[in-house]
Subunit: 402 residues, 4 copies
């Protein structure tokens, strides 16, 4: 179990760190800190566009993709430290074209897409020219149990017909969002894990309608946003199905492993950022004649935060290593473990940092409130904590059965 990153990963990590520190963080205050006028909120800021070009020019681009030519060809373990560094700013992943859900969607296309699908969607996504969304969760059923899914992707002749309602379609508010991956029921009589298909659906296909944009713990997360989207008799060529009908679950499973590693490493980065801010605040702010660092339990809580972050990072590295070494089948428990442990840890560390920042921590003077909302959301996104705990428990009990 060797967590040493390759020289290549190390080099990229240093360059990303410097880029984030020098180019992204100064911009962040400007873009997130002040509330922009409303018509601007849902545009891609020009500064972001420029930074993307710059990052791409420096080769800090598509680093998530395990392909040496299209991406950086890094293992999960090698990509993890990069994701952590990008995660320090909510703005950074986009700058490096490593933002969810585009990363997951690109991976799906890379692994399962046909040549046509790749040409049409993967290429502009890799170029950062278009954005995408992922339409899986549904408002009317407990989506933690994927077999509850009610939306359909029926085959009719050479067409696939989409019907149903999805929500938490993150990124669908972005002005460049051109395509979604839609998951729906194709064959209710097939084997339990062969019933669903994933379908590429252009956002301008007739019958696709954004019913409303959702707030997540108070944030609209512009310009990406989270949409509730209805699909009504949306008719597409059957060739829009990814990898053929009935392979939805298989693809979803492959998509989620690396995706959870990315999410969790970004959260580690966010927690590190929150802790850094907390330390600076504790040293720089005075009450009752002493810096906060010397008051009551503040120092002990800082220590607990450090210990929690260290443990969480190591657990994610282990999951990345397991995924690289044994594949998703052999890393199921590990991947669920990090989904339980990391968002809760991040939520708690950020909460501590908010508390040390007082009123400043709650408003947009710091990225803390938004970071908190993001960490909180990830206790539900990609499966709630409770479902992952059951997965971990199952693996545990299995050791003593039969």
């Amino acid at each position: 179990m060797d967590f040493t990153p390759s020289d290549r990963s190390n080099d990229l990590a240093h360059r990303i760190e410097a880029f984030v520190e020098q180019r992204v963080l100064p911009l962040e205050a400007e873009l997130f800190g002040r509330v922009r006028s409303d018509d601007e909120r849902w545009q891609e800021p020009r500064a972001v566009r420029e930074l993307k070009a710059e990052a791409r020019g420096e080769g800090l681009w598509n680093l998530f993709l395990p392909d040496r030519e299209l991406g950086a060809g890094l293992s999960n373990l090698d990509y993890a430290p990069l994701a952590e560094r990008m995660g320090r700013s909510l703005l950074a992943p986009e700058v490096f074209n490593c933002n969810a859900p585009d990363t997951g969607n690109m991976e799906v296309l890379y692994h399962y897409g046909s040549d046509d699908q790749k040409a049409q969607w993967l290429e502009p996504l890799l170029a950062g020219e278009i954005r995408s969304a992922f339409c899986m969760t549904e408002p009317d059923v407990a989506s933690s149990d994927a077999t509850n899914m009610e939306a359909t992707a029926r085959l009719e002749g050479d067409q696939v017909v989409l019907d149903g309602r999805k929500w938490w379609s993150t990124g669908i508010g972005h002005p460049h969002c051109r395509v979604v991956i839609f998951m729906g029921l194709t064959d209710p009589d097939a084997d339990r894990h062969r019933r669903h298909s994933m379908v590429l659906c252009p956002t301008d296909a007739p019958g696709v309608k954004i019913e409303r944009m959702l707030h997540a713990m108070g944030f609209d997360d512009a310009p990406y946003g989270h949409g509730e989207v209805s699909f009504t008799d949306v008719r597409l060529p059957a060739s829009n199905i990814i990898a053929g009908p009935g392979r939805g679950f298989e693809i979803a499973q492959g998509r989620l492993g690396p995706g959870r590693i990315h999410h969790c490493m970004r959260l580690i980065g966010l927690a590190e950022r929150a802790l850094k801010l907390a330390c600076r605040r504790a040293l720089g702010r005075t009450a009752f004649g002493r810096p906060l660092a010397k008051l009551g339990g503040n120092a002990e809580r800082i220590a607990d935060a450090r210990i929690a972050i260290e443990q969480a990072r190591l657990l994610v590295l282990k999951a990345a290593w397991a995924l690289d070494t044994h594949g998703i089948r052999g890393a199921m428990s590990e991947v669920s473990q990090i989904k339980v442990a990391v968002p809760k840890m991040a939520q708690d560390v950020i909460d501590l940092s908010i508390q040390l920042h007082g009123g400043g921590g709650m408003c947009n003077d710091y990225p803390l409130a938004a970071a908190f909302a993001g960490a909180r959301a990830l206790r539900l996104a990609d499966g709630p904590d409770e479902v992952h705990r059951m997965q971990v428990a199952r693996a545990e009990f299995k050791k003593y059965l039969g």
Copy 2:
């Protein structure tokens, strides 16, 4: 230690409960659930105005005020169950003219205001015609230590001159907000607790400027809002000082005792609401073939939430009883105890309810995300948890010292 409410309190509680259930909650979904167009957001909704008239007509009005004529003349213990019931909806306190910070401001005017001050400000506040704000916390210093305060209220002849910057001036965004109570340093050479004054300052006084409105954990809390406000050479008649120069701390202390009881009882109501929603969701939503109530640790967590709420409510009732019986001097530890215990309890119960609601819990389909933000904010407002813990500890240690 008798927590039995009087018949009068009981009767009012039943009537408020019915009013909230039948008149306020149905409206809440409409007003909070959907995101209104932006120019409407900062208006008082007509429906609220109508409900206020209705509540006033029914005598459910100003119940917080311990005056038999102007309010209901209830003790803290008798008012507590009413505050709980109002707290179930974020909309309700306003409907009964029992919304913070107006309640605290009205109490200050009632106890310390001159006849002129009462005529000018207390009467329209009691009539629900105007709203007010409280300007104490400052952005540049740790306001948890009130002696840090940098804003000034200097006497010049028969004028008082306000200078400084305040933030988290809640309610200042309301279209009817006409006056703020400003706290500032008057005499730096006086005794530590005789240095500051409270001054009534009209919002349209020259030199008062709302620099920006703050988000609190993602929410702008329209139409009340939280403002950062600058005061530049604001010149007012010295008669605007409440109870004379140097009495700011004394007034603040008297203001905060009942205010914390109110806040905490409203949070109990909010937690009860969250638990009710959680139970309904747990019984009504199915995953993996069973209602959530039968899955994993959900039922145990519901039980823990019930136990936590019960304990918190009893603690607040005890603090209210202590305040009624011994006055604020004799209830310092109790009041600090509830400030530590209740917001954290509410945050945790609401977090559980959000978790059970999945994506729905995070968006505005339920009042949970806003409730969470409110509970979180109260771990900082009126003094952070940590300062109150030190207060409780001090009282504890004092038992064993000389």
Copy 3:
């Protein structure tokens, strides 16, 4: 909901407090603090015998019994503060003849015993001349589910025949233990809650054998002890059955309500004792140039302990009040709530106090390690936390079902 104790309760509380402070605590150090030679350990210390006589002489005797003549005739609410004061010392309950399981056994005999049973067993128990045990829990099945019980109390003619194995028969090691209440299956075909009987069984009946004495978290709890006891073809007159065959569950339920109040109030007393020791230690011990009270998070933890104790006490008082007012049927959730909340609270407060005492806290120089073991045991005794949480959750869900 009036928690004010009666004058009588108040008076008794003061007298018990003084008695414990002046007579019991000084003895405690002597009896518990030093490890006595082994042959003495299982004797009743002469000093305890003398204190019992003294307490009885002062009328501080059998105060738990709700009978004005035999006991003090106090309600649960009135007895609660007395139990708290007795609970401050592990030695005190015996001194006042208010020790479990004798209290529960006496209540059973008082409420359900025949005249003969009362003459034979209740009178010497009330006189403090003999001790008793309660034989319900079994080693081979999950006793949290009472229907698992395998021991039998079969009727054969005018005899009842006991067979089976019980453990955690607390008090059976005491030299004066003369009788146990045995619970066993009588009629497997009866209604679910009419199958079991409670039988009075002398400890010297042929077929009764103490197989071994158990340690509880390291402590043997001499001279009471916890026994594993086998019953082999123990033949007793059918008149030894309490209240007739099949009434075991009914009696058990009536027994457990007040018993849990007693246990929990004693734990509150124990937690108060631990907190007092913690404060004294924090003020009196110096490290790094400052008293522990001024180091790191110690003061905040002391505050949290105070807040936790206050909440727990109020919850028990509410349960006592509910039991007095509504009977056990109407106080099921309340009684389960305290069984979940109080032992865990006590365990945590005592753990904190141990931590502040360093090595001293772990050894018998302080009553803390024994107190910790006692609190920990009560998270299992009388039903594990988890079973009580399910009971609380059931009551919660019932509010929203049909």
Copy 4:
């Protein structure tokens, strides 16, 4: 950061695992499970003597010692998995001659001892023929702050004279305990960390007296035990000082780094054992018609325990790696981090296992109660949690200072 154990470590781990599983665990039930008669308790059981010979014969001996000839010459990282496996049984470390405090004492002698000291004490310790104790902690001062130490080791001519009182001298009750390492003040005027010396003191030196044996959370931990020991004018040759006067702190620091790794890895092993027992119990025990594994929150708690153990183990491996790579100076924060995280984690996991075992978990039918006491003790031994948290916090703040 490569955590992969060497082939040698791997091979030893497998052999230790098999040895523990097949030879030690069966014996454990016999030795710990039943309470032996008192005169036997303080003897070394013959079975242990035999197992030691066997282990030594198989080369599973002194594996902790980083010397290729005398020990196994393993790095901390390579030894960690062996310590974990030994830690599964409270009996095992002795069997492999890897028991604390002998390991730490042997390391001190190995690194700092003179040839004579090595011949006299290190050799028989390495042979497992004698046992030793470590006398540092004192009853009358807060030993968490080592500068509080009051015992003296004064130089008089060619003698060193020991005076003072020590406690928690673990192992001093063992029949083979022949020597202690005593730490005392030599030169109060020297630099703060050059004042103390470590002195080898035979247990039969005139003036050494075991005042009493201490219980630790209820356990006497026979046949090792924890003693309170007085040293009265104990006169020894100055050559008994280890590495010369004034080097006590330097030696202590070097001793504690690996010692804490060992303790923590053994606790990981103990937690794994507790979790294994918990899983088996959860699967094998039935209540309310279902195995405990399917009841309420049990499965989720099992998952949380797995996640906690994984994180803790990785953190210890990182600390071991840091110690190997950077030395103790470069691993201070890491070593403090594990001292905070691991004992608390182990305490919680064992507590969960006890809870699942019901009454069985509290008594000696399982090694759980003793394991709990051991984990709890380690939250104080080698420095309380709070002191280590301050150490971690200090390292954190240092990043942002000058």
